[in-house]
Amino acid sequence: MTAAAFFSLVVLSLIAFFLVYQSLPAIQSQGLLNFLTGTEWDSKTTSDGSVTEDPVFGVAAMLWGTILIAIIAITISLPVSIGIAVFVVFIASRRLATFLRNTIDFLAAIPSIVFGLWAISALTPVGKNWGQWLTENLGFIPLFKNELGIWVGTPFIAGIVLSVMITPIITSVSREVLGRTPPDLINASQALGGTLWPTLRYVAFPFAKSGIVAATMLGLGRALGETVAVFYVLNLTYGKINWYQIVNPEGGSIASLIVAKFSEADPLEISALLGGGMVLFLITLIVNTISTAIARTTVTDK
């Protein structure tokens, strides 16, 4: 029994060990600092398979791209999730609440590849128009600048897909913590004349604050590691970091990089891709650990 319980520890350490071990050749050839801060990703292999120059591998552009689309996703998803959670907990009738809960859970069960197909066929044709509108009307804000005149494959669209995928996660956790607000406090607030907003603002949100932060971190972890759906709609650009131009079709995502480059990679590039996987693994592990730690303090606070 104990052996089984520590299976997860074994797996986690093995993941860390093997990803580090197998990515050593690439990291040694690049130097750790260059690997983490470089933006180029080129195996310098020509079509006939001969290597002309030294290959360069750097994950910085992809890493920042991953974080950028995750931020967009959280920005959209957080208000939506909290809104739905508030509705389910405080407003909806019991039957409607059950229906919504099942719907949201079902949304969480839809495979990411299905979201990927939706993103290609339904979201991109519409989303590119939104992007274009943002550039044409709000282009004076650096955020919406786009010099290329193409609005397909932008971090903006990838962020929207991700926001849909993480909404169920944030919603269900927020719903749970908001639902745990002591009924006495809510009744007291209402007795003092507090309508919905004051009750939320002064009773429920302070009570659920750290739980909602934990939920956001959980959603962030999921957004950082999402692969297929992003792979379909994001245009990966190497060589420079797109810091904030979210409607420019230049983005990055470590997970997509791995999927995109994997099939045609030589051993050294595979090793570099494993290094990218290691970076991704570490980041999600940190984010999730913070989330768990926050969630735990909430429980012990009570």
């Binding site: 069960a109 996987g277 999600t284």
Partner: protein, 355 residues
């Protein structure tokens, strides 16, 4: 004079128990319908472009919420009205997205979905072959085999982990809980890469179905363990105490009392685990390689699976292959719905049984 002023300051009783009066209903209806109607009208008349009409609608709806709130409850109603309008947008957003997702897969997926598509394999089929030939029978078999093996591995370990946390109550219980939580955050692409880096890149194994099953296990285990843990917590403490009082050992309490009591819940845990992994694509890209032939031997060469079939199919620039990919996505979605509904029905039965 002062007396009358005081009398005026006393508010009329609000009768909070009467939740909806006729006026309220009219107010809510007006606030919900008017902004949308106005925006639609302005758009139809050509005064506003689509985007402007949309923005106008958002602003008008929120203002309408605020006004309705003020009419209904005075100054205090302002923030409530805005809040409810905003919540309405959140619900509309998720509702639109969800129907759009299902709609796009269903409408594009029915075209190639015929009986032959379910039972035939993809051998001799090129991306341009017409829709009447070939299918994903091989991929369905592959998915069932890979998920089946992953289930066989992860369910016992997952339940054992849950038992360790709830029943054994060892000293490192919190640590194990944290580890399971951390493991549930492992991105699916990393799970696939890990199996690739340890077993395939090193030459220990070739690309085959079993490798895919191992990658799935990493993703499935935390889901099973956490759901099972919750289920085991629901087993009444009295039952355990009674069994212990009868002289049963800890092991017997678990095997003869706790686990049988939680049987349905454990099946739910398994089904949720399956629903979690059945559509995962990224782990398969690095482990099973994909195949057009039927291969039901998980340790002998490349295997096909539905997610991988979709993943490769949709990247082809040819219409028939894309149609096939969407049909495969529809099949996958139906599979997920089946597992998800089964899990829901079972857990619902449990809740009713408890009450």
């Amino acid at each position: 004079m002062t007396i009358t002023a005081t009398a005026q300051a006393i508010p009329t009783p609000q009768r909070p128990w009467r939740r909806r009066s006729k006026n309220d209903i009219i107010l809510v209806a007006a606030a919900s319908i008017l902004p949308g109607l106005t925006s639609l009208l302005l758009y139809q008349l050509g005064i506003f472009s689509a985007v402007i009409a949309g923005l106008f609608f958002i602003i008008a709806q929120i203002s309408a919420g605020a006004i309705a709130g003020v009419i209904h409850r005075g100054k205090r109603g302002l923030s409530d009205g805005i809040l409810i309008a905003a919540i309405g947008f959140a619900l509309a957003f998720i509702g639109t997205v969800m129907s759009s997702v299902i709609w796009s897969v269903v409408t594009k997926g029915v075209e190639a979905l015929k009986w032959q598509f379910i039972i035939q394999n993809n051998e001799f089929i090129t991306p341009t072959s017409p829709l009447g030939y070939g299918g994903i029978g091989h991929a369905i078999l592959g998915t069932l085999i890979i998920v089946g093996i992953a289930t066989l591995i992860s369910v016992p370990i997952g339940i054992a982990t849950a038992v360790y946390i709830t029943e054994v109550r060892g000293r490192s219980r919190v640590l194990v809980q944290g580890l399971v939580q951390a493991m549930s955050g492992v991105p699916s692409v990393v799970a696939g890469l890990f199996i690739f880096a340890t077993l395939i890149f090193t030459g220990i194994s070739e690309f085959n179905g079993f490798m895919g099953a191992l990658a799935y296990t990493i993703l499935m285990l935390p889901t099973v363990a956490r759901t099972a843990e919750e289920v085991l917590r629901l087993v009444p403490e009295d039952l355990r105490s009674a069994a212990l009082a009868l002289g049963a050992s800890r092991a017997r309490v678990v095997s003869m009392v706790v686990l049988p009591t939680a049987k349905t819940g454990l099946v739910t845990a398994m089904l949720l685990g399956i629903a979690r992994v059945v559509g995962e694509t990224a782990p398969l890209v690095f482990t099973i390689f994909g195949s057009a032939k039927t291969n039901i031997n998980p340790v002998d060469g490349p295997m096909a699976a539905i997610p991988l079939y979709i993943f490769n199919g949709v990247r082809q620039p040819f219409a028939p292959e894309q149609a096939r990919a969407y049909s495969a996505a529809l099949v996958l979605l139906i599979l997920v719905i089946v597992f998800f509904t089964l899990a829901r029905v079972l857990s619902g039965d449990r809740r009713k049984g408890k009450k």
